[in-house]
């Protein structure tokens, strides 16, 4: 999933201070799972903003909505009938959702209510960590299912580097060395011989370095 974290309330308040009619829009998918922008967080933010502005003697109209997704036309369309009633929308979706909303409703100011962080997993309640950087050419098959692009600080394809100590990465004693994990798992799989194979230079043009990316499926397009 895409992992995001809530923006500090002070920052959100600053962003909407000059408006009167605010819509807070949550998303039912990734940001709900990482408890940053689902229906619950929409309710909490709305309540907090109402109280803040009430305390300032300002009567704001603050409404709440949570869409199934904000990265698909069909769900964003649900706002078409109501969007003109608001001066500003705070979207609690990931950056993709915020942008799609802004593209669709060109004349409405859309503000991000979360900081989008990475593609990752829920390690345990309240802990999320990165697993994929969407490099466009997955090599997990060669690295025992552990991604050196997202989990190795240097993105080394033939690691580890000299900074790997007792299984930890030199940038942080708490952080597992991705290459240690790869070697350990290759060992478990009985495939340690694979470690001897040099992974060739990666074609980074499929990654962000190649500019903004698109996936086009002619077999699906109508």
């Amino acid at each position: 999933m895409i992992v995001a974290k809530q923006k500090p309330i002070e920052e959100i308040i600053e962003g909407v201070r000059d408006y009167e009619k605010i819509l807070i829009a949550g998303c039912n998918e990734c940001v709900t799972v990482c408890e940053a922008g689902g229906k619950k967080e929409v309710g909490i933010l709305a309540s907090a903003l109402r109280m803040y502005f009430m305390n300032q003697g300002k009567n704001m109209k603050i409404d709440e909505v949570t869409l199934e997704r904000q990265c698909d036309h069909e769900y964003l369309e649900e706002l078409r009938k109501i969007i003109d009633r608001y001066d500003v929308v705070i979207s609690l979706a990931c950056g993709a959702g915020v942008q799609f909303m802004a593209e669709k409703y060109f004349r409405t100011r859309v503000l991000p209510g979360v900081d989008t962080c990475f593609m990752g997993v829920t390690e345990e309640r309240g802990v999320w960590s990165e697993r994929c950087q969407g490099c466009g050419k997955c090599i997990l098959g060669e690295t025992a299912g552990i991604c050196p692009i997202s989990r190795c600080a240097k993105r080394i394809l033939n690691g580890p580097c000299g900074g790997s100590t007792k299984g930890k990465c030199e940038i942080d004693k708490e952080l597992d060395c991705a290459w240690q994990l790869i070697i350990d798992r290759l060992n478990e799989l009985g495939r340690l011989d694979d470690y001897e194979k040099i992974i060739p230079i990666k074609d980074w043009s499929t990654e962000r370095a190649g500019g903004p990316r698109r996936v086009v499926r002619e077999d699906l397009r109508l």
């Binding site: 619950k40 909490i44 109402r50 109280m51 803040y52 009430m54 003697g57």
Partner: protein, 119 residues
């Protein structure tokens, strides 16, 4: 056992404090409560394992939010006690009432009255 506690306290029963959500706490303040406290079982004694631990986290989240918006984080508290501690329940009620009295009324309530805002 008949134990007296301050009559200003309104008790809302929940099956487990794990049911209490941040939003419940915030809504109470939005509606004008001067203070809210959650009374859960002793830590380690939750029948559902972590209900009271979750409640504590939510109280902390609500404290943080209330502090950030100028209402005062201290207005919401978490207490743990066993069902056999009736006198302690009354003590907490008094302690909380005094604490909130010192802080004064909920500023939202005052502002609402002054501005005639409706929620």
């Amino acid at each position: 056992m008949r134990i007296q506690y301050p009559e200003n306290i309104k008790i809302i029963g929940v099956p487990c404090t794990g049911k209490v959500d941040v939003l419940h706490l915030l809504r109470a303040f939005e509606k004008g409560a001067d203070g809210v406290y959650v009374v859960g079982c002793l830590e380690g004694d939750c029948r559902f394992n972590s209900g009271n631990l979750r409640a504590r986290k939510r109280v902390e989240q609500a404290q943080h939010i209330l502090e950030s918006i100028g209402v005062g984080g201290e207005r919401v508290q978490m207490y743990n006690l066993s069902s056999g501690e009736g006198p302690r329940f009354a003590e907490i009620a008094v302690e909380m009432t005094e604490k909130i009295r010192k802080m004064g009324p909920n500023p939202i309530k005052i502002s609402k009255e002054k501005n005639g805002c409706m929620i």
